[in-house]
């Protein structure tokens, strides 16, 4: 029954399949060949931190290091815990105990960091920098978590800035928040009047936060962790207020939107991120050089100007200049700004808080 045409089709199909197999074998060959030299340390960090401008000294001396990023810091912890071989990582203050619990963080020899003296004193004194008399983590950058709101849509909050806007019944369904314990859920603890917004070891404090979170869940349009989604919603007017990091506000203003970043009467939050070295790294020297390169002033200046974050050295702030700092919403006196905010700390009973958050989201 088969026609000549049919045979031709089958022949061509077989030829096509053979060709595809051939291409796949060739591609497999390229995977087997190592692409990058293994004599470079691997930096496991936040996305975007592969810009070589952040490590000018290192790149000039050794060329580009290897880099890979996590999408979510928790997944980074899980990957490291499972045995992933990185050399340098970039944890944030509030997650340090979790990173340390993987048992893979090594002490840093600050005598090998010529830029270590430049790090601001208040940051050096933070929990987590020193553990048992050894430096385990070098602060690199910091920023704020607060509420951005549309001044044209919620003008009554101008001059009366407060986290309460997220709970304002007038804006039910028109607010958004981070899908995060440390950037959002702890605010419920703060507004519930808990003595320490980061400590939920007392069931009564957890319950108080739960009541507040139940209200928030009914208030928000959505929870999201990515600045893109949050900014999009503010830009389109879908929400009038949302929790964001400080650099989002700069971008929103640049697009000509009438927005303001709250300095809530309860205080804005401050996060700090830094670098640590993984125990047993085969690149101890280069790992130290990489950290040192990130503390150098040109690197810190580039981060202020391009990411809009605060950084850990005073020198960089002076090098940037008043006008630019003001445009970015950063203070010229970073120590003062740091002192004014609420430092994000590791959460006590994070497990319980997460369970509560899940339950509230499930409507329980």
């Amino acid at each position: 029954m088969k026609t000549k045409h049919h045979h031709a089709v089958e022949r061509r199909a077989r030829a096509g399949l053979s060709a595809l197999c051939g291409v796949a074998v060739l591609a497999l060959g390229t995977l087997a060949a190592p692409v990058q030299a293994q004599d470079q340390p691997l930096l496991f960090s936040w996305p975007g931190y592969d810009a070589k401008e952040l490590y000018p000294d290192y790149v000039a001396r050794h060329g580009m290091f290897r880099f890979t990023a996590w999408g979510d810091e928790e997944e980074g912890v899980a990957k490291l815990k499972s045995g992933f071989n990185a050399d340098v990582i970039m944890p944030c203050s509030y997650k340090l105990p979790k990173w340390r619990a993987t048992g893979r963080i090594a002490p840093i020899d600050t005598s090998r960091l010529k830029n270590w003296p430049k790090v601001m004193a208040s940051l050096k004194q933070m929990d987590g920098v020193m553990v048992d008399g050894k430096v385990m983590w070098v602060p690199i950058d910091w920023g704020n978590t607060s509420v951005v709101y549309r001044t044209d849509l919620a003008p009554e909050y101008v001059g009366k800035e407060s986290w309460e806007i997220l709970w304002d019944p007038k804006y039910k369904g028109r607010v958004a928040a981070f899908d995060s314990l440390v950037d959002a859920v702890v605010v419920a603890g703060l507004l519930a009047g808990n003595p320490d917004m980061f400590d939920y070891s007392d069931p009564a404090h957890l319950e108080a936060a739960r009541v507040k979170m139940r209200e928030l869940v009914n208030q928000v349009k959505f929870f999201s962790n990515d600045p893109t989604t949050l900014e999009q919603a503010i830009a389109s007017g879908e929400v009038v207020a949302a929790t964001v990091w400080n650099e989002s506000v700069v971008r929103l203003k640049k697009q000509g939107l009438k927005v303001a970043y709250m300095n809530p009467k309860e205080g804005m939050m401050t996060w700090v991120c830094g670098l640590s070295i993984i125990a047993g790294s085969e690149h101890m020297d280069k790992a130290h050089e990489l950290i040192d390169a990130m503390l150098a002033t040109p690197s810190r200046v580039w981060e202020i100007e391009n990411f809009g974050y605060g950084v850990s050295t005073q020198e960089a702030f002076e090098a940037v200049g008043d006008e630019k700092l003001q445009a970015l919403g950063l203070s010229k006196n970073p120590e003062q700004a740091l002192a004014a905010g609420i430092f994000q700390k590791p959460i006590v009973n994070e497990k319980g808080l997460q369970e509560m958050f899940d339950e509230v989201k499930a409507g329980l």
């Binding site: 000549k4 045409h5 031709a8 089958e10 061509r12 199909a13 077989r14 399949l17 595809l20 197999c21 291409v23 796949a24 591609a27 497999l28 390229t30 995977l31 087997a32 190592p34 692409v35 990058q36 691997l42 936040w46 996305p47 975007g48 592969d50 290897r66 880099f67 890979t68 990023a69 996590w70 999408g71 997944e75 899980a78 990957k79 499972s82 045995g83 992933f84 071989n85 990515d226 600045p227 893109t228 989604t229 900014e231 999009q232 830009a235 389109s236 989002s248 971008r251 640049k254 697009q255």
Partner: protein
């Protein structure tokens, strides 16, 4: 043509077009916003710009992630389809003791949460001292796509007439040639569908790839990371548009070549 009363396409044709519209609806918006002169993807459109395309083409890390994804997807689709084909053939051609148990076992990768698969494969690989690379991503993706290939091919091969194969074998064809010249043509639509599906899944998979990636990333991992930087989104849209238009062009060119070949035969 079959003697269908409602003409060539009929009401079903209208439905097919509507269905294609549904499938393409989110995709046609991408090119629109990729030339929109604003960082935020929202109406109203601002103005026309090619800036995002310039950025996308200058974005080396993103392009190499794209290239990695294409390589991984291609290899995964070929390996998974081959393995799926062998399994489907065995399960449909022979009456096997414990066939149900085998099918059940082979479908575990479909049911197991990817985060567990990712973490435990990583634990094993690092215990064995194997460095992570694109090859480990391929491994993970083959594991989760094999059952898909198997299901698609089984639905094709079920009820396939054994006697044709037996005839070929009786005629003295080697089993391999029989497979290549008899079974493969019969299974062809299934093979094509399996290749397309396994490629698509691998090309879009994020979580397993994250745990199994070394310093080379695939596109989905890369794009997820870029979400932290809203200013990068438009260039990602531009890349997405280029993928769509590029594949379109590729398909049309291939079709032209095919037709050219057809005329000659």
């Amino acid at each position: 043509m079959s003697a269908h009363p409602t003409g060539r396409f009929g009401g079903l044709g209208v439905y097919a077009v509507a269905y294609l519209t549904f499938i393409y609806l989110p995709v046609v918006l991408l090119p629109m916003f990729s030339v929109n002169d604003a960082v935020y993807v929202a109406f109203p459109l601002k103005g026309f710009t090619l800036q995002w395309y310039r950025e996308a083409l200058a974005h080396e890390a993103m392009l190499s992630a794209l290239w990695n994804s294409i390589k991984v997807g291609l290899i995964v689709s070929v390996i998974a389809t081959s393995l799926g084909m062998l399994a489907a053939k065995a399960l449909t051609r022979y009456r096997i003791a414990g066939a149900r148990a085998v099918i059940g076992f082979l479908s575990i990768p479909l049911v197991i949460p990817l985060i567990i698969l990712g973490i435990s494969l990583l634990v094993v690989l690092s215990q064995m001292g194997i460095d992570l690379s694109l090859a480990t991503i391929v491994l993970g993706h083959v594991v989760i796509t094999v059952p898909i290939a198997m299901f698609v091919l089984m639905s094709r091969l079920e009820g396939f007439d054994k006697s044709i194969e037996e005839a070929a074998l009786d005629l003295g064809e080697t089993p391999w040639m029989t497979f290549w010249r008899v079974t493969v043509p019969v299974a062809l639509p299934g093979i094509v569908a399996s290749l397309l599906l396994t490629f698509t899944l691998s090309f879009d998979e994020f979580l397993l790839a994250f745990f199994l990636a070394g310093d080379q990333l695939t596109l989905p991992i890369y794009i997820w990371g870029q979400l932290r930087f809203p200013a990068k989104l438009p260039s990602v849209l531009a890349l997405g548009s280029m993928i769509i238009v590029g594949t379109f062009v590729l398909v049309i060119v291939a079709e032209r070549i095919r037709r050219g070949g057809e005329r000659r035969t």
